[in-house]
């Protein structure tokens, strides 16, 4: 596969791998039958994402995307994190092969699901108008 050095670097040394003790939000996206599952955990303090972790079943692009997006959201406020698009993740990775762009969509969706989960837990209602780009599976699927 024709991956950028950045993708390979994140695949070789993924950041923020693992589960989180008592996370403030959890997002789970994808399913094994399409070959990708991402779980994202966030810690939030004063409306700012202070930590993020992930577990991913998937290809190198899925793993690199997960790693990159957890790096990108750390330190961002919830509104700022919500502005993160899969396109920005792809750019941060110096591009993805066309057939792999859907992995970055999963990453964006996993993050949004985690924020949705956090909001539900704290405000009782989830992300307004939450629409996941990847229509294969909803949160918690």
């Amino acid at each position: 596969m024709n991956y950028s050095d950045k993708v390979m670097e994140h695949f070789k040394n993924p950041r923020n791998v693992g589960e989180m003790d008592s996370p403030d939000g959890i997002g789970r996206i994808g399913n094994a039958s399409c070959g990708d599952i991402m779980e994202m955990y966030i810690k939030v303090k004063d409306n700012v994402i202070t930590d993020a972790k992930f577990k991913t079943f998937g290809c190198a692009a899925a793993i690199a995307t997960s790693s990159m997006i957890t790096e990108m959201v750390k330190g961002k406020s919830i509104p700022a994190a919500l502005k993160l698009t899969n396109q920005m993740v792809v750019e941060a990775l110096d591009g993805l092969p066309p057939v792999k762009v859907h992995c970055s969509v999963l990453g964006e969706d996993a993050l949004k699901s985690a924020i949705d989960d956090y909001l539900k837990k704290t405000t009782g209602k989830g992300l307004e108008g939450l629409k996941l780009k990847n229509n294969e599976a909803g949160p918690g699927h």
């Binding site: 596969m1 390979m8 695949f11 070789k12 993924p14 791998v17 693992g18 789970r28 094994a32 039958s33 399409c34 070959g35 990708d36 599952i37 991402m38 779980e39 577990k55 991913t56 079943f57 998937g58 290809c59 190198a60 692009a61 899925a62 793993i63 057939v99």
Partner: protein, 386 residues
């Protein structure tokens, strides 16, 4: 870093002795075999010598061999050529669900043109049941096409039993032997087939050249049309160096075939055993015994194939996977699904295919590196709960 090539089912290196025979036919003996002058005639003689060598490997007459551009063209030409040449006899093909796409896609195209295709199921080892072939034959059946051995899981089909049935029924039998020619014995008479596809680059010949064996008397419409080459059965200026390479690769294969099997079987079995013993929750795909000597295919639970493949590549080990992530489509290998694997297990498959120069040391290295890779990826997997 030493690189270990374990993807010999995808392609093999051209043997130096094969390349050596090809070389003069590029820039020195470059004549077109259809030309009447001496440049042409020396090329013609070389092509015919190569045809005889290949005939020697699969035990047929030289005139029964049509040179093609590879296994895919041979498969396309066999299906198309038999069905169109026998339109008056019938319109029905029987094949299996685990054929190579080079057979399945032409079948789908033929269906669009009004032909009928039966896709037989296989059992959990990937075996076609000869009784199912028999049951599927109707008075409209023209051709049965069942591969000799599967490229992904290595299962070898009972072609001899199937040919007993097709002969009785008066139906033609094609086999895609791309994965077996040069690897195990392939004798068209023992197999009892009427057509057989092969490809040079799968057994140490060059890429871009293959052949279709067509038993004498079998009606076949040409697929590539436009000139008198190959007795009007395949037009286009002959790929002379490629054909000579195929001939030489066939000659070497014939001499080495027993040695090749004897060399690979213990390596294959050690690798299978080593993986199954050292990594929990792994299953072997394909038949435990009726299996290509080069083929090892396992599914590793909880993790995905492309990730394994690339981790192995980073350690210098070249392998292959049936995961969808490697193919650019959303579906994993149709073969792995046909033998009953879940999508998850199909995505978690990895194939090692061994070759002439692999050694015990190579197996040692894989057995050292691979369990660690699996462990790391599992630690990252949300499906894996220790």
């Amino acid at each position: 870093m030493k690189r270990i090539y374990l993807d010999n089912a995808a392609t093999t290196p051209t043997l130096p002795s094969v390349l050596k025979e090809m070389l003069p036919y590029f820039s020195e003996r470059y004549g077109n075999p259809s030309s009447l002058h001496s440049f042409g005639q020396e090329a013609r003689a070389a092509v015919e010598a190569a045809r005889a060598r290949l005939a020697g490997l699969i035990n047929c007459q030289p005139a029964e061999i049509i040179f093609t551009s590879g296994g895919t063209e041979s498969d396309n030409a066999a299906l198309f050529g038999v069905l169109y040449a026998n339109k008056s006899k019938g319109d029905h093909i029987i094949t299996s669900k685990i054929e190579h796409h080079a057979v399945l896609e032409p079948c789908q195209w033929l269906e669009k043109q009004g032909f009928k295709v039966t896709y037989l199921d296989v059992d959990k080892y990937g075996l076609v049941d000869p009784a199912a072939v028999k049951a599927a034959i109707t008075d409209k059946t023209v051709l049965v096409s069942i591969m000799h051995a599967n490229n992904e899981i290595g299962t070898i089909q009972p072609i001899e039993q199937i040919s007993t049935i097709t002969k009785e029924a008066g139906v033609l039998l094609h086999t895609d032997a791309v994965q077996t020619v040069g690897q195990i014995e392939v004798d068209v008479d023992k197999l009892g087939v009427d057509l057989l596809s092969l490809s040079a680059h799968k057994f140490y010949g060059p890429k871009g050249v293959g052949a279709l064996y067509v038993r004498k008397g079998t009606r076949l419409e040409p697929y590539i049309r436009g000139g008198g080459q190959e007795k009007r059965r395949r037009a286009s200026t002959e790929n002379v160096p490629g054909i000579i390479g195929l001939g030489k690769a066939a000659e070497i294969a014939k001499a080495e075939i027993n040695e090749r099997v004897a060399h690979l079987l213990p390596l294959r079995d050690r690798l299978i055993k080593g993986i199954l013993d050292n990594i929990p929750e792994v299953i072997l795909n394909g038949h435990p015994v009726q299996r290509l000597p080069k083929n090892v295919n396992v599914s590793v639970k909880y993790i995905e194939g492309e990730a394994m493949l690339l981790k192995l590549d980073l350690e210098g080990i070249a392998a292959s996977t049936g995961s969808a992530c490697s193919s650019g489509t959303l579906d994993p290998s149709h073969v792995l699904l046909a033998i009953g694997l879940t999508h998850e297990l199909a995505h978690g498959s990895i194939r090692f295919s061994l070759g002439r120069t692999n050694t015990d040391k190579d197996i040692d290295h894989v057995l050292e590196v691979f369990p660690k890779i699996v462990k790391k990826l599992r630690q990252m997997s949300p499906l894996y709960k220790k």
